[in-house]
């Protein structure tokens, strides 16, 4: 083994650039993999972490209060590790014209609970306090995301029930187990006539549906039949909560996998280059009596040394880099728990990355294994001239400087090396094209969800809040908003519940007016087109599905006594505008409901402002202009999407760097191999300048061809992979999110491939050109 070690150590020491590049490629790839894995893990784990911290209920069970006694419930604890309850539970209806739109006419699950703590389901009181006295209620709401302020209007502090009873909201809490919509003090629940009792359970093992089902079955037995009315599994709750950030998870997986594939291919390419350019080296080793296995060992050791170093440093770098990104991402998701990089990720990177590198190195190393000694020792110095000569003659017929035409012919002299270089260039350009495209798609998607284009929202105040009420009509409000300095666009919208003839489900249609098409909504078309004429609607696929409609279908819509036949002209993304519902133009509204008297507070306005506008002052200006208008800032990025966008940018940069290094290394190696040719050409009278031009031309030719192949391939990959990824995330992507390419940007990408090849050729070519002929020939 010592001879092997000796030979590989010497080889590593004398191939500094190659060793450095392998190390750096592994370092950057490992770092990107750690970052991607950490984000993936954190994206799926915050619920689990918060769930553990708040001692969430694995099963929330609702019992019939008439069928079972409290004592029976408290004593019935098959296999549970913690139990809370019994809590009285009532379902009440809220008033249809209550203050809080979210609660209007909705049934509300109210639970009587003495305190927010306890052995199961700690309620996080993030605003106000817990209930103590009569007429008090705490609402279950997720805390605002980081970057958002909780905004309460005075009228939000009252909840009115259908029977007219009013409660004062004294606090807002968040139950990760979703055990209730609202809580009141235990001695106050009786007034709501509770018919059920709530029990909360934790179990040692409840990770799978079948385990949870098993526990539920155990709860059922031993109690009077029909006592257990309903159960809710934590797994179901998790699914709903994780859906938001979950949209990005498949995209991050693709980035992580891409990083892995690119790392493998580039390391494979770099090692292949080492083997191809090491033919003579292999031959000498074999002639000396190194066994084929020992030769493989030498080549693997040459790669593993930098790979291991790069992998360790890359893990550290990725770990340190991921922490701040993750912390800022998850701060605002309602999961207070500290997020970090799980130890398994570091372990996976430390074990996985070198394994992958060795695997990548194995293929070319096996070539070295099979190479016959006699062939290897002679092939090192024998380019095959036949084809090159033919190409050279053909090029000679074209009017080009001799150095350029010679350079263009060079790639044909050593097809294997040319193929490797070309593969590196194409792979690099494809990777960078694809990654920039995908990160642009992610950015645009996050802009949509963050309402980047319409950051300011206005809704006139309701008349019943003791608040000032606007005296302006709809057009007047719109005009006022337009006149505030800084406003660039105003869109108004009105929700109206209509019925569709032949469909029992009512539908909400959002009628829009103003600058809606210009405000980016028209870009959210998935299929079909945006509204152009009266009696047209667009809707997200879920809504279309619910009503059995498809793009191109006609439907008759009724409001009051009037009917209109409308056409579905397009499918839009479910992000805009607002929650998923049908969208139609104002002219359609006027035809359908010409006599409808719009109350000011039924209108919602979305505003776009000029860049650089001071939001605080702008909001104040609107409030001053009409105190009857409630205005708030809807924009501002959600910290999670900001982090995802930052991450995809970072990953794209890392991948770009890795690809660039791969190309650079291949070109440098390739150029170095030709130093002997250079010496020969100089000896027959080429000037150093001509030598450099020739070498750079030969590589630039590969750069141009690689760019021309790589850019369309990268675009194709984006076209194919992104929709599949979006599908996995249950997103329909608008065409605008896929059309991310600009000619300038593409030219830049192709140009970058060319620039790297030129640079990679220029450095060694210049140093070779400076060598004296004697030096070059002496060294062979």
């Amino acid at each position: 083994m010592s001879a092997v070690w000796r030979a590989s150590r010497a080889a590593v020491r004398r191939r500094r650039l190659q060793t450095f590049v392998i190390g750096l490629v592994v370092l950057l790839s490992t770092a990107s993999i750690v970052v991607a894995l950490a984000l993936l893990d954190a994206s799926s784990a915050p619920f689990d972490r918060a769930f553990a911290e708040r001692r969430g209920a694995h099963v929330v069970a609702t019992y019939d209060a008439a069928a079972v006694t409290d004592a029976q419930l408290a004593g019935h604890r098959p296999d549970v590790t913690a139990i809370a309850g019994p809590f009285r539970q009532a379902t009440v209806d809220t008033s249809r014209d209550g203050n809080v739109p979210r609660l209007q006419g909705r049934p509300l699950t109210v639970v009587g609970r003495a305190d927010p703590g306890g052995p199961v389901d700690t309620v996080d009181i993030w605003h106000g306090r817990w209930v103590t006295g009569p007429g008090e209620v705490v609402l279950n709401e997720a805390p605002p995301a980081a970057g958002y302020q909780a905004r309460f209007r005075p009228e939000d502090d009252r909840v009115t029930l259908a029977d007219g009873t009013t409660f004062t909201v004294v606090g807002r809490g968040y139950s990760i187990s979703r055990t209730a919509d609202a809580w009141v003090a235990p001695d106050r629940i009786a007034a709501l006539r509770p018919t059920t009792v709530q029990m909360l359970y934790r179990f040692a093992d409840a990770g799978t549906t079948s385990e949870v089902d098993g526990h539920v079955a155990a709860l059922r037995t031993g109690l009077p039949p029909d006592a257990l009315v309903a159960t809710q599994s934590h797994l179901v709750v998790k699914e709903t909560i994780a859906a938001g950030p979950g949209a990005y998870v498949p995209f991050l997986v693709v980035f992580g996998v891409l990083g892995l594939i690119v790392a493998v291919l580039i390391v494979g390419n770099v090692v292949s280059g080492a083997v191809v350019s090491g033919y003579r080296h292999i031959g000498v080793l074999k002639a000396m009596g190194f066994t084929p296995r020992q030769v493989v060992a030498v080549y693997l050791a040459m790669v593993s040394v930098p790979a291991v170093v790069g992998c360790v440093l890359g893990t550290v770098l990725g770990d340190l880099g991921a922490r701040p990104l993750l912390r800022s991402a998850f701060l605002g998701l309602g999961f207070g728990a500290e997020v970090g990089v799980a130890p398994w990720i570091d372990v996976a990177a430390l074990v996985g990355a070198p394994a992958v590198v060795l695997l990548a190195a194995l293929v070319p190393a096996l070539r070295a294994y099979r190479l016959s000694a006699a062939e290897a020792i002679s092939a090192g110095s024998a380019p095959r001239p036949g084809r090159a000569l033919r190409v050279q003659r053909a090029l000679g017929g074209i009017r080009l400087p001799r150095a350029v035409s010679l350079g263009l012919g060079l790639p044909f002299a050593r097809p294997a090396r040319t193929a490797l270089t070309m593969a590196a260039v194409v792979l690099g350009v494809v990777t960078v094209t694809f990654a920039t495209g995908m990160s642009e798609t992610v950015r645009r998607y996050s802009d949509l969800t963050d309402l980047k284009d319409t950051p300011i929202a206005v809704r006139p105040l309701r008349p019943d809040g003791g608040q000032p009420v606007t005296q302006r009509s709809v057009p007047e409000v719109e005009q006022l908003l337009r006149s505030v300095p800084g406003t660039t666009r105003v869109a108004g919208g009105l929700d109206l519940e209509v019925s569709i003839v032949g469909d029992r489900e009512p539908a909400t249609v959002y009628f829009v007016r103003g600058d809606v098409p210009a405000m980016g909504f028209a870009d959210q078309i998935v299929t079909g087109r945006w509204l152009r004429a009266p009696d047209e609607v667009v809707a997200p696929s879920t809504v279309l599905h619910d009503h059995g409609l498809a793009v191109g279908d006609r439907a008759t819509v009724r409001f009051g006594a009037r009917e209109r036949s409308v056409t579905v002209v397009g499918e839009i993304m479910s992000t805009a505008p607002g929650w998923p519902r049908m969208v139609a133009g104002w002219d359609t509204f006027e035809r359908l409901a010409p006599n409808y008297r719009i109350l000011p507070h039924e209108m919602y306005y979305a505003l776009a402002v000029a860049p650089g506008t001071d939001t605080g002052r702008y909001l104040a200006a609107i409030r001053t202009a009409d105190p009857g208008l409630d205005v708030w800032d809807n924009g501002g990025s959600n910290s999670y999407t900001t982090a995802v966008v930052a991450l995809s940018t970072v990953l794209t940069l890392l991948l770009g760097l890795v690809a660039a290094l791969g190309v650079f290394n291949t070109v440098v190696l390739n150029t170095r191999d030709r130093r002997r040719d250079l010496g020969m050409l100089k000896s027959i009278g080429m000037t150093p300048r001509q030598v450099v031009v020739m070498m750079v031309t030969s590589m630039a030719a590969l750069g141009v061809v690689g760019g021309l192949l790589g850019v369309p391939l990268g675009m194709l990959a984006h076209r194919v992979v992104v929709p599949i990824t979006a599908d996995a995330a249950n997103l329909s992507l608008a065409k605008a999110l896929l059309q991310v390419w600009q000619p300038g940007g593409l030219a830049l990408l192709a140009g970058a491939g060319l620039a790297i090849t030129v640079l990679g050729a220029l450095l060694p070519a210049r140093s070779a050109a400076r060598l004296t002929i004697a030096e070059v020939l002496h060294n062979e």
Binding site: K286, Q294, S372, A373
Partner: protein, 230 residues
């Protein structure tokens, strides 16, 4: 037919590269202590013959037996072990490892056979000293002259006390003075009993070093002559 003294025995060795027949039925035996020179015009198959004996390549037909071992029955690893222990090779263009200084190039050969680094370097240094280039021991091949490189290559070839020393135009890349020195070296070696097979174009080298000259033409042995030792 094999006697104890026979080191190399070729029987009907053919080698084809596609349409080219490099060797066309060569039979040859070399006894221990002999110095044989192979001569002939360019492309007649000299290097090919040497590669067959060194186990660097396999014949298309025929057998190669070296020190009683049939190379045709060995796999690649077996051939490597055979070369390591039995064969020393010297090439026209030296074929040193560019990554290692002179001394380590020589010592590496012994380390391959399991010698410890210390003793290996010791013996390597003795050999370099005998060849008169001990002062260049720490130079990398790129910094050595052709003659110096060839002497390092000779030292490396001798490191494991090979049964057979094969040299393919050992003076081909050297000027006459350096060539002369390498010739003297080979002659001295033969005189202390080293079996030698030298491929050369150089009649003078052949007559000075060899006891027998084998002339190849178009892959066949055209003539053999025995020389009176000078």
């Amino acid at each position: 037919m094999t006697t104890d003294a026979t080191v190399v025995l070729l029987d009907g060795v053919r080698k084809e590269y596609g349409d080219t027949t490099a060797l066309d039925g060569v039979s040859l035996s070399i006894r221990a202590g002999e110095a044989v020179a192979v001569m002939g015009p360019s492309g007649c198959g000299k290097s090919t013959l040497l590669n067959m004996i060194a186990g660097l390549d396999r014949p298309t037909a025929g057998t190669v037996v070296v020190q009683g071992e049939d190379l045709g029955r060995k796999n690649e690893t077996g051939l490597a072990l055979f070369r390591r222990h039995r064969i020393g090779m010297i090439f026209q263009f030296f074929n040193l490892l560019d990554d290692l200084p002179a001394l380590d190039n020589v010592a590496l050969a012994a380390q391959l056979t399991g010698s410890k680094a210390g003793p290996a370097r010791q013996r390597a240094l003795e050999l370099l000293d005998e060849l008169g280039i001990a002062d260049r021991r720490n130079a990398y091949p790129a910094a050595l002259s052709g003659g110096e490189r060839q002497r390092v290559a000779v030292a490396r070839a001798l490191m494991n006390r090979p049964a057979l020393l094969l040299a393919d135009e050992p003076t081909g890349a050297l000027d006459s003075r350096a060539g002369e020195q390498v010739m003297d070296l080979l002659l001295d070696l033969n005189q202390i009993g080293q079996t030698l097979l030298i491929v050369t174009h150089d009649e003078r080298l052949a007559t000075r070093c060899a006891s027998r000259v084998v002339e190849l033409a178009d892959g066949r042995i055209a003539r053999e002559r025995t020389l009176e030792k000078a």
